[in-house]
Symmetry: D2
Amino acid sequence: MQLGVGLIGTGFMGKSHALAWRNVIAVLGGDLGAVAQPDLRLLCETPADKASQMAAQFGFACATSDWQELVADPQIDVVSITTPNGLHHPMAMAAIAAGKHVWCEKPMALTLAQAEEMAAAARDRGVVTMVGYNYLSNPAFTHAQRLVSGGAIGRPVQFRGWVDEDYQADPDLPWTWRARLQEAGLGALGDIGTHLISLTQGIMGPIASLIADMQTIHETRPLPDGSGRGTVENEDAANVLLRFANGAQGTLVISRSAWGRKSRLGFEIHGDRGMIIFDQERMNELQIYQNDGPRAEQGFKTILTGPAHPPYGAFCPAPGHQLGFNDLKVIECGRLLQGIAGIAAAEPGFDAALQIERVIHAIADSARAGGQRIAL
Amino acid sequence: MQLGVGLIGTGFMGKSHALAWRNVIAVLGGDLGAVAQPDLRLLCETPADKASQMAAQFGFACATSDWQELVADPQIDVVSITTPNGLHHPMAMAAIAAGKHVWCEKPMALTLAQAEEMAAAARDRGVVTMVGYNYLSNPAFTHAQRLVSGGAIGRPVQFRGWVDEDYQADPDLPWTWRARLQEAGLGALGDIGTHLISLTQGIMGPIASLIADMQTIHETRPLPDGSGRGTVENEDAANVLLRFANGAQGTLVISRSAWGRKSRLGFEIHGDRGMIIFDQERMNELQIYQNDGPRAEQGFKTILTGPAHPPYGAFCPAPGHQLGFNDLKVIECGRLLQGIAGIAAAEPGFDAALQIERVIHAIADSARAGGQRIAL
Amino acid sequence: MQLGVGLIGTGFMGKSHALAWRNVIAVLGGDLGAVAQPDLRLLCETPADKASQMAAQFGFACATSDWQELVADPQIDVVSITTPNGLHHPMAMAAIAAGKHVWCEKPMALTLAQAEEMAAAARDRGVVTMVGYNYLSNPAFTHAQRLVSGGAIGRPVQFRGWVDEDYQADPDLPWTWRARLQEAGLGALGDIGTHLISLTQGIMGPIASLIADMQTIHETRPLPDGSGRGTVENEDAANVLLRFANGAQGTLVISRSAWGRKSRLGFEIHGDRGMIIFDQERMNELQIYQNDGPRAEQGFKTILTGPAHPPYGAFCPAPGHQLGFNDLKVIECGRLLQGIAGIAAAEPGFDAALQIERVIHAIADSARAGGQRIAL
Amino acid sequence: MQLGVGLIGTGFMGKSHALAWRNVIAVLGGDLGAVAQPDLRLLCETPADKASQMAAQFGFACATSDWQELVADPQIDVVSITTPNGLHHPMAMAAIAAGKHVWCEKPMALTLAQAEEMAAAARDRGVVTMVGYNYLSNPAFTHAQRLVSGGAIGRPVQFRGWVDEDYQADPDLPWTWRARLQEAGLGALGDIGTHLISLTQGIMGPIASLIADMQTIHETRPLPDGSGRGTVENEDAANVLLRFANGAQGTLVISRSAWGRKSRLGFEIHGDRGMIIFDQERMNELQIYQNDGPRAEQGFKTILTGPAHPPYGAFCPAPGHQLGFNDLKVIECGRLLQGIAGIAAAEPGFDAALQIERVIHAIADSARAGGQRIAL
């Protein structure tokens, strides 16, 4: 099956999507290739000459500066949306309306209402959707999922999740659209908190209720035109108390202003027989402690991922040689292809991703209400 | 000045106090020795023959099995209290009434009312008091305090504290008095949460308000006599959202049932110019990130403590050779001696420690009220 | 410039070459694309149906099972050689004779004489060559090179290099051709020792002389047909004392039988002003200590690679998001393209790689002679 | 049994001995106390007033500035020698002649001949001796010994040892007596190399032969009187190839000029079933990898020492609370007391320590001979 691919955006995630589309079959192999062959047809960027240039670089057949043209193109079967958050909703709605499958970056939308509308539309139209929660595809994470569900640490009782970066740590950074609620929506919660929620619910199951606090660390930033300082309308950091449906409790800490943290996204899960720890800054490692054997020999074990942790072996047959960030997107793309080919569900689709949006908006609501408990 | 020392208790902390009294002058030196010479006079333990045996081992001149005799002994100037938590209050009250200085293990008491009574009595009687928050004496921690107060990480904006051990992680451990509110008071909060609060307020200043959740992970435990299962009345774990008086926000996580953690007590402080991280499981290390110099050269620096971090050099002139847990108690004992000699305040005394008790009781109160914000 | 690419081999390194050819322009960009556009023309594998299948998967236009056909094909401008070590020499000689550029995996050949012949042939024919020392392309390593050459640690005085894996650690692994001198040549030295030498000389400059010891840890292995045990003719491990041309001294340790090590390849360099440490198992990190500032603030700094360490930013604009093993091959491929386009020298070509072969053969010679010093 | 203790020296190791004598019974307990009660009788230091002052601080009954008086004192049963290396020989010889037991710091002497004389004299006189190889007493190390001898990693095949500090790393440090062969003897080999040999042979058994290289990194240093530069006559660093009697091979690296290393003393042992790693800079940790269980779950385990690693529990009943450097000396002192009481051999005594001296002198001899293999 040839699959016409249209990509909107060529920035950070646009390039990552492009590489994933280029590599998915080469890496994951012939079986998948037999059912779905991506054909890189159309790239959308502005202005038009940049679109052409990036299409050449990324290997797309054609270029356009008009995303509506892309969405309408009958040769396009699946649309990758990697534009700023505020554009996800109109683009996804148009693509769904045109009957295209959609691979959309997170968060789905600026508001929960928009996200709900997108999920409903996809459901109605019967297209396959996937939201870009790439860290779910890390073989270290999926191995952690298997260990936890297989009882390796017993009953999970406490969860601690964190996601920290420092891209908004510098007080002297100029004000941008990212600071505006209307354009960016939530701040750290939308950008990186969503990733943390995806891992949290992916391994612990649903959050039952939460209480949160939130903070704008840098309340104003210098306007780029030198005309004074602009207000930062969304949060730099949030902290959350969690109760899970399975009875466990826990916390989340989220910051985009945490100096020194570059991609610190992880968690520790305390079980009644052991503990498991993961951190994306050392994405090829997993730590586990099990209450087994003589006390004198117990300790945290650091597992390096390798072919024993599929689909690592599709990238490299030698353990410990390390996957990188863009490799996760290749795995995610493979899951999307399987979904489109009807081999397996493409997860997280819009329905599953909607649960993630619900959580971040509940966090913001709880914090705005001064720390009210919100049930989910 | 000869100082008659009476020690009550010979367990974990009893031995640590005994070693501290034996070593404080030998380690910290002649200047301190010139003003205060501990004389290990009387050891109290039950039964009497164990008291005699431990007095011989620890080098105390006499032994008794009656703590009231010890407290009344006119040769005793200072009383070390290292008994189970429920006994701190009567012993300290009696010692204060007898005009003795008091070195008491934490928490001060089972209830906040008792702790307040102890602080008031000490204030009225004018005796010097010290509560055993030994981790405050770690040269790595005091160096962190200096770095933060000196602006090394700028304005502190977020704080994350943790204290985890696994001494109550095993579901099959038998029920003990530790599980009873009336005998043990709080659970993890009293045992180890207090230590975390001591570091937290020691480096961040006062907590303004908090919201908490709490969990008894193992709700019953097998009774030691095999007659069934007893109820665990206090908490195994607690999670807290914090707001500090200085405007920073943060979290605390506390567990006595965290498999694999043996003495994990630490924190990270996010400032607007950097971050600092400490963990007692690697108690001779400190990590700092500073937004200085070219971006390509920035990173977390691991500082190993040495003579540049006083009073490390009093133990060993060579850096990186490592202090141990008991060494912290020696430093604490030195501060107590300075307090008694009138050279410097002995901190944390009962007044300062009372603030720590207030916080843990506020955590418990907030959690029992379903997550209500409590101002401090 | 269109560049016809022929790839021989589809195993571990074959796939890595294929991905590199697919991605090099998409990742590294339009400037490079303007001068050199790889055209994936012909893939060679045996048997023929596997060749066709892999050509489809990797995106090559045609397939063959005859490498001589590939080498002779006028549409092919550059040949990737990723076959077992014994085939490098005949394939490279034929490709050079046909005027093709050559990208060859390491080691160059089974014997030093063969390697010298290859280098001489390439020099005579004027083709561009590149040997697959991919770890040289790690942005963390190239940053280390810049730091050292820029004086960040002062004068280098000691070097310690290591390369350990455990693919031959298990005593029960069956005997294979890898154990035969005639087919595999050297053992650990050829497989992984060469990589270590590439980094060592890449950052320290030439080795002046060495003394070595060598060990076959598992002297026999079970024959696969169950007929007894076969002899392991080459080394599992080697240890080396080094003197460098710049006056520094050092050691190398090399093992293919080091349980737990998966891709441990790294070094520490002691300078008279600091130290720098790199290890491929945490390939996105670099550690540096500098004797700068107050003693109390000194420590090893862990630098996470990011856009400040080119060409990391071509893969991802966010620091700390991690490159993977295959990304290094993309960077290497970019350097080859620059070499072919005449923009910059493709290094290490056959001449530079020959120096690496000389060292590993000197190590083996010294060890066989019982630890004789050999000048290079 | 009362045991009259005389201590010579009050510097780094003098204080450590004093603390050990003060604490040994209090920590290790009544059983040992029943057979041997140290009585801190006489302290020797110069000048006399410093001796008196330090005797008061350390709790010795009397003071002297004349070591020969101390050695002759009939009340003294055991002599602690903690003076500069050149004085070990005359002091130990005199103490042995007077029938005293001797606890001597390492290295035993400046020359091998002196060390041999000391060992012979002690043997002849029948006194108990102990040399201060304190790192042998680390519970993490003795646990490693048990693991290795119990087969936890199978047959040991490779050993890599290191000992690095930076106390002579700074090129601008002034010249001292430490740089003179006649006063200091060997450099890094004597100071810290000896410790590494003690661990190496303690866990691997005897070294059969070696080949070494050696380096004086800073060949001259500024004379303290400003009159120019003095020559450094001994080595800053040494590197060694090892063959063990048990068939294993390995390396040692030794430097006193390794910036950033404060007490890096450790090793990794490769066995045919696993690997074990220890480093004194994290002295309460031990790492082990074992080829057991499913490949996907294998990894290096970090064991934190605790009561399961005797005699840790004598210091603290809680695991992970950390021993410090001076605690190791207490354990060593306990072994000496057991030796004197006839309960167990005090090891390493002069005979065992002599084997360590033989190795470091063999290293120096091999290096001076340009890398000749020397059998031991």
